[in-house]
């Protein structure tokens, strides 16, 4: 009997568990990410959906996100704003335009401590791994859609305080106590068991605007990030740092490719996001 045939006698749940372990081992060992999304473990056991509060603008694409920790693995929250993930952690982010999935990005933390990135393009019922150099798609209606290169992925994720941008204390906020209860976090501040981590804001307008900048700019603009005197990342329990609002609005309000911020991943202005920033900053500068 072949190995695959032998699996037929194993209970379904055990097969799921075995698959999860094998996927973790294969990907954590630094094996190349698979050619098809259906081979990455998405939809399998231990995969958990999550949603950050301050989403990165992606030209209006709708996004869904999932995380899977290796069996028994926990996220180390001892640095509240820079969580560390166990070897074998896997994440997915699906991008949909006009209600149809276009791509799903996937990254995995290998045994060597390095993250591997890949993007999968949807074709029918499955998605196929995109070229590492990136690709531009033409969607129905003629809209252009850019798949990131692996270098693009690294540009935003690798230099951040934690390479996982959306699964973080301030991004998950009210969902954090449940993560603690479910045993996904270790070394977290005790207060998080009942009180969601947040930053200090003067009111809802500042909370929304500075949260937006945290989600869209904070992965580069933090202490130790890009060497420009602008700090847009937020810290748990702290108020935001002062900013040059005019500069922020100018760079966020252009799609001149050499001046726009963020510098990659977007061709279209986020008009709602800009309005939110203007509401806060213009109101803030009024006497």
């Amino acid at each position: 009997m072949s190995g695959l045939g032998a699996l037929g006698k194993v209970p379904l749940m055990h097969r799921f568990a075995a698959t999860a372990v094998l996927l973790c081992l294969a990907t954590a060992a630094g094996a190349a990410l698979p050619e098809r999304l259906s081979q990455t473990g998405l939809g399998g056991p231990g995969v958990r959906a999550f949603e950050p509060r301050f989403a990165l603008w992606s030209d209006g694409a709708a996004k869904r996100r999932w995380i899977a920790l290796p069996p028994g693995g926990q996220v180390d929250a001892s640095q509240p704003d820079a969580w560390r993930f166990p070897i074998g952690t896997r994440l997915w982010k699906e991008f949909s335009v006009d209600g149809r999935p276009v791509e799903t990005r996937h990254f995995v933390l290998g045994f060597d401590g390095r993250w591997e990135f890949a993007s999968y393009v949807w074709q029918g019922d499955d998605a196929v791994r995109a070229p590492a150099r990136g690709q531009t798609l033409t969607l129905p209606g003629g809209r252009r859609y850019d798949l990131p290169s692996v270098g693009d992925c690294v540009a935003c994720h690798a230099g951040a305080r934690s390479p996982v941008l959306g699964f973080a204390a301030l991004q998950l906020g009210p969902a954090v106590p449940a993560l603690l209860r479910d045993g996904l976090l270790k070394n977290a501040p005790a207060a998080w068991a009942t009180q969601a981590p947040d930053f200090i804001a003067s009111g809802p307008a500042e909370h929304a605007a500075r949260g937006y900048l945290h989600g869209n700019c904070g992965h580069c603009h933090f202490d130790g990030g890009v060497p420009v005197p602008l700090r847009l990342a937020l810290d748990v329990g702290q108020p935001p740092a002062p900013v040059d609002a005019a500069q922020v609005l100018r760079r966020a309000g252009t799609r001149n490719p050499y001046q726009q911020m963020p510098p990659l991943g977007t061709r279209d202005l986020d008009r709602q996001g800009l309005a939110l920033l203007q509401r806060h900053f213009i109101q803030e500068t009024r006497p």
Binding site: G151, G159, P227, Y258
Partner: protein, 176 residues
């Protein structure tokens, strides 16, 4: 004798740093960095590098506000008089201030920022693309040691305050 060991280690480290700067100077001088990052001025025998502004990039007082219309015929790129600004299908690029001035040059950059910029062809390794005619495809093949040596040399230069403008977008999309 034991007391001399820290001194010897310090001297060895200093010699190593000096070697690295010297190697960086050699690479900068032989890799054409000054051709674009040091502005030209008009001398008695024609255009010559303005060494008072060595490696400080496009002069901030030489203002260019828009790309030029592409010239007729087979031409693609127009170079400014200083050879520090280039108008082409990508818009207008201005050469960077490579001196260690904190506000306008590489003063705040880390060695990794510099290496990643050259390695990835993105500003600071994660920002906008580094534009033509910067020969990223050539320099990105330098070894890490060579790139670090170049950075060490650039950081050893006297800082020159010169705020290079941001690039200008093309008149029309380069790719329809």
């Amino acid at each position: 004798m034991k007391a001399l060991i820290p001194v010897l280690i310090l001297l060895a480290g200093t010699a190593q740093a000096a070697d690295r700067i010297e190697r960086g100077q050699y690479l900068v001088n032989t890799s054409g960095c000054r051709d674009c990052h040091t502005p030209l001025k008009m001398g008695a025998h024609g255009p010559e590098p303005d060494m008072a502004r060595s490696l400080s990039g496009h002069p901030q007082d030489f203002v260019i506000t828009a790309p030029v219309a592409p010239p007729q015929g087979p031409w693609m790129v127009v170079t400014a008089q200083t050879a520090t600004a280039f108008s082409g299908p990508w818009g207008v690029s201005f050469t960077a201030n490579l001196t260690p001035d904190v506000e306008t040059g590489l003063g705040r950059w880390s060695e990794n920022d510099f290496v990643q910029t050259i390695r990835t062809g993105r500003h600071l390794g994660r920002g906008r693309p580094v534009l033509p005619p910067m020969p990223i495809p050539v320099y990105s093949q330098m070894t890490d040691d060579d790139l670090k040596a170049v950075f060490a040399y650039l950081k050893s230069l006297p800082p020159i305050r010169n705020k290079v403008p941001e690039p200008l977008a093309p008149l029309a999309p380069a790719h329809p």
